[in-house]
Symmetry: C2
Subunit: 114 residues, 2 copies
């Protein structure tokens, strides 16, 4: 719809924090990168491999995710899941997301019928 570069980058900024929340929400049960990519895509959450893989490594290094390699299948897969800290943080982050959305919607709502 919009081939405007500026628009694209603003939408990207819009997605930024949301993507982390979405990924965390999916990792109550272990998943590996590629499966997450597909799950999220099916749920209409667009995230690129180039974004997801670094993000998973980052979240692990921050202590929010645990990981382990599964080598029993045909192909080695790195499974990630929420650590204890990750679970707690996800709950708080979800709360923050809801609160922020509520306030933003109020602001934009008032504007929209002005």
């Amino acid at each position: 719809m919009k081939d405007n570069l500026l628009f694209t980058s603003l939408v990207s900024e819009l997605k930024r924090g949301n993507l982390t929340l979405c990924v965390l929400s999916q990792l109550k049960t272990p998943q590996y990168g590629y499966s997450l990519l597909q799950t999220l895509s099916e749920q209409h959450i667009e995230i690129e491999a180039n974004t997801l893989y670094p993000m998973l490594r980052r979240l692990e290094s921050q202590g929010l995710l645990d990981s382990s390699w599964d080598t029993t299948e045909s192909r080695p897969r790195k499974f990630y899941s929420l650590s204890t800290q990750g679970q707690t943080l996800f709950i708080d982050l979800l709360k923050a997301w809801k609160e922020q959305n509520k306030q933003t919607a109020l602001l934009l709502g008032e504007e929209s019928h002005a």
Copy 2:
């Protein structure tokens, strides 16, 4: 509530794109930095001066805002308002925001009663 640094930075990421949208929404009528700071604060949108001022300059340099100095009052004030391009972009960005929120809410909603 949370003095956790990691949590703080994740919330900050969450706000990132939203703040731009909020600021754009307020500039259908001209406002200056300091007044915006107060308006947004009253509407429970937390944004720091250190964030807002560079953002206004950025949005102007990107062509989304026009600006003009008002020197008739006691204190010089730089007024910003949406440019034509800014108006169009705001409408598209608002659409993108709504769509993204809908999809995210669906994903998180399904998770929350799992």
